[in-house]
């Protein structure tokens, strides 16, 4: 398969001896010169989805340090000159490369000859086209690992699985969104991206989504513990007083308790009131059911009063325990659990950014 920009108004796609000609929308034609093969290799293309169908004018420039490094483009805008970016040369260039790469990615099924680009470009998707060099990434995977929090916090998710309907509707595209400023995520673990970008938004069962989210909580708990441990090791190398060393070791031992590690994850100032409320809602529902077993909760309640900031973390810990060990007590609370997943996920994504 070979793609040729021979014509000014069409993509000629060579498959063996045959040539399939796909017309290029008028507005893209003048940018063909820029969309050379070299430029094409510099760019990456990722399919994205949003809650609700994309609107043609929802074209979102991607910025790094004030420079445009790419665009998120609704499928409908790729083949149209009705939108606000139709006269923008930089957009035209990126859009043309995006079309080229879409043609490459479908690897032309010659048996079903498309008669126009509309046949191969999905209007239900966004297409993210970005310059690899400017983004300082080498592949689509690396781009997503680096920038998925910024995409997700602006309502964009994995667009690969077209059959999945959104279930949890984590976040919608903000109505005033004019661009996305990309900055590299601080979490390099690919499974975190996988959980948030590809699994949780599509999961219909909030309890299963909670399970995914809790893996990420555990990941942050581990990171907190590792930070504490490395601080202790550093101190161990420098500490001369055995008494002080012992005290430091006690603090590490204390921190290693699950509850304390969870607290560390949720003491972040970014913890918003929405998450706080959602945790309280679920907690109050299940704790009311368990009033008769108050003794079992006393420790939790005592601790909860120690420090207000810690309350949501401890409540969440309690919800987690109920979820994993007494699921029947929580399974009727699907709606509040769904709300909690949404705010919990957004909080954790913010922590990744």
């Amino acid at each position: 398969m070979q793609f040729i920009y021979r014509s000014v108004n069409s993509f000629n796609v060579k498959a063996g001896e045959e040539i399939v000609r796909l017309p290029i929308p008028a507005f893209n034609q003048k940018y063909l010169k820029d969309a050379t093969l070299t430029r094409e290799n510099d760019c990456l293309l990722i399919k994205l989805r949003s809650v609700g169908s994309p609107k043609e004018n929802q074209i979102i420039p991607l910025l790094i340090g004030g420079n445009t490094v790419g665009y998120v483009i609704p499928g409908a805008a790729l083949c149209s000159n009705d939108h606000e970016f139709a006269e923008n040369p930089m957009f035209g260039s990126f859009a043309t490369i995006a079309i080229y790469k879409i043609l490459q990615s479908i690897n032309f099924e010659i048996a079903s000859i498309p008669t126009s680009l509309d046949d191969v470009i999905s209007e239900e998707h966004f297409y993210c086209i970005a310059n690899k060099k400017f983004c300082k990434v080498r592949s689509e995977d690396e781009f997503l690992n680096s920038f998925f929090p910024d995409l997700m916090l602006n309502g964009l998710f994995d667009g690969k699985n077209i059959d999945h309907k959104f279930a949890l509707q984590l976040s919608e595209i903000p109505s005033d969104l004019r661009s996305i400023k990309l900055k590299k995520a601080n979490s390099g673990a690919p499974f975190v991206r996988k959980a948030f970008f590809s699994l949780i938004p599509f999961e219909k069962d909030p309890f299963f989504a909670f399970f995914y989210a809790w893996q990420v909580v555990e990941f942050f708990m581990l990171k907190e513990f590792e930070a504490k441990l490395s601080a202790f090791i550093k101190r161990h190398e420098e500490e001369k007083s055995i008494v002080n060393f012992r005290k430091a070791l006690d603090r590490v031992n204390e921190f290693s308790k699950e509850k304390n590690r969870i607290r560390a994850v949720f003491v972040d100032p970014k913890l918003d009131t929405l998450l706080h409320e959602d945790i309280e809602d679920v907690y109050s529902l299940i704790s009311t059911q368990l009033e008769t077993k108050k003794n079992g909760n006393s420790a939790l309640e005592d601790e909860a009063t120690e420090n207000d900031v810690d309350v949501p973390a401890l409540m969440l810990y309690y919800i987690r325990n109920t979820m994993f060990h007494s699921f029947e007590k929580i399974e009727s609370h699907k709606d509040p659990m769904g709300k909690l997943i949404k705010s919990l996920s957004l909080y954790l994504i913010k922590k990744c950014s």
Binding site: E18, K55, E56, A76, D82, E84, E87, A111, S116, D118
Partner: protein
């Protein structure tokens, strides 16, 4: 002997009419002819060369036309190729064969264009005895004569069921290409490839008018890019109910032009008062303006757009189905603006901007808006009947309700 001489030799042989049958649906005559491949190639070449809108060849799969080509070379019998005589004056047995020889440019290929390309290809690539044998072989050709445009179009739709169907718009373009050379009551059609721009009031873009007409016969304002012609039963039904004697396209063209003339006579223009109006509105009013995001600063500019023509076509088609009028001549073009001209222009631009902001596909949403607008404008029971200003909000609500 060179190819052209060989073909000429074959033309001299008499083609034979084997059967003549009346087609009662399209009210014409169908002739079945036998002729040599050489004769057919001579005719097909003229048709393809002279008719710039005749579809180009499809270079596609190994499994379709290249297989066909191999079969032809091995001597298979081709299914009859179908041609139509574009002049509606009925021919007869004697004249149709004469016409084929003397004026092949009066014919169009309804079905079998890709087969014709294959035949021409083969004749170009072989020579000597092999070529002579090939050109002398027989083929069957069916010719429709005395059929009006709607009838030919109807036949095109029902016949063109092969591997690569033409789009409905393309078929209509072929049908109406002679309007490019003649004026209909002062209306001039301009083709994009002519490098001419549409500047005068009586000038319209050929393709845009074709799209508008397409929307009329299909009762649908959307462009036909994706539509499968064969699935489009409704358009066939619509066509079959039209008066077969009518030249619908000319009537459609005249009706749209009379609408534009009526709007022009109302002198709707925005006042240049920067305190009251948005600057962009006046930029769009300027001939050289590059701001394409404001719809229009005058009445004519607002309506002389492809989306408006398509919406008009679809709305008029629907109203006709609802028996709002019997014929294009029953549509009366007397309107009231319904507000101060600048208020009307401002409201119209705001409506379009609102559509643009929220549309999943802006072009389609604008077409839907115009369909609703013209329905409100021309429907006698509408509260905004003949009122240009009142129809705006009703159209916008309607379009949003239907989903843009």
């Amino acid at each position: 002997m060179p190819l052209n001489s060989l073909i000429t030799l074959h033309i001299k042989k008499n083609m034979e009419i084997k059967s003549t049958l009346p087609d009662r649906v399209v009210q014409g005559t169908s002739f079945l002819l036998e002729m040599s491949i050489g004769e057919y190639i001579a005719i097909a070449k003229v048709i393809i060369d002279r008719n710039e809108f005749q579809r180009r060849r499809v270079k596609s799969s190994k499994t379709t036309y290249s297989l066909l080509r191999r079969d032809i070379e091995r001597g298979c019998v081709l299914p009859p190729l179908v041609l139509a005589h574009r002049d509606t004056a009925p021919g007869n047995v004697a004249t149709i064969t004469d016409l084929l020889k003397s004026n092949p440019d009066q014919f169009i290929i309804l079905d079998g264009l890709q087969r014709s390309f294959t035949l021409i290809d083969i004749s170009n690539e072989i020579d000597g005895n092999e070529l002579e044998d090939f050109l002398g072989r027989g083929l069957r050709c069916e010719i429709y004569d005395g059929v009006n445009r709607a009838g030919i179009l109807y036949r095109m739709l029902t016949l063109n069921t092969g591997q690569t169907t033409m789009s409905l718009r393309h078929q209509i373009e072929i049908m109406y290409l002679d309007y490019l050379t003649k004026e209909v009551e002062g209306v001039r059609l301009i083709r994009e490839v002519d490098d001419a721009s549409v500047n005068k009031l009586n000038e319209y873009n050929f393709r845009e008018m074709i799209e508008g007409f397409n929307s009329y016969i299909d009762r649908n304002e959307l462009p036909m890019d994706r539509a499968d012609v064969l699935d489009n039963i409704s358009s066939l039904e619509n066509l079959s109910t039209e008066n077969n004697d009518a030249d619908l396209f000319a009537k459609f063209l005249k009706t749209w032009h009379s609408f534009i003339l009526a709007i022009d006579q109302l002198n709707i223009e925005a006042e240049k008062d920067p305190d009251t109006y948005h600057d962009n509105l006046f930029e769009a009013h300027d001939e050289d303006s590059k701001n394409s995001f404001v719809w229009g600063g005058t009445g004519v500019r607002i309506f002389k757009r492809p989306q408006a023509v398509s919406g008009f076509g679809a709305a008029i088609g629907m109203l006709r189905d609802e028996s709002e009028f019997e014929d294009f001549s029953n549509i009366h073009m007397n309107f009231e603006v319904g507000a101060e001209p600048h208020i009307f222009i401002l409201a119209f631009n705001e409506a379009i901007q609102n559509i643009n902001k929220n549309a999943r596909k802006i072009g389609n949403a604008q077409r839907l808006f115009f369909r609703m607008y013209f329905k409100m404008l021309f429907m006698k029971d509408s509260t905004s009947y003949k009122n240009l200003y009142k129809s705006i909000s009703l159209a916008q609500n309607g379009a949003e309700r239907l989903g843009i």
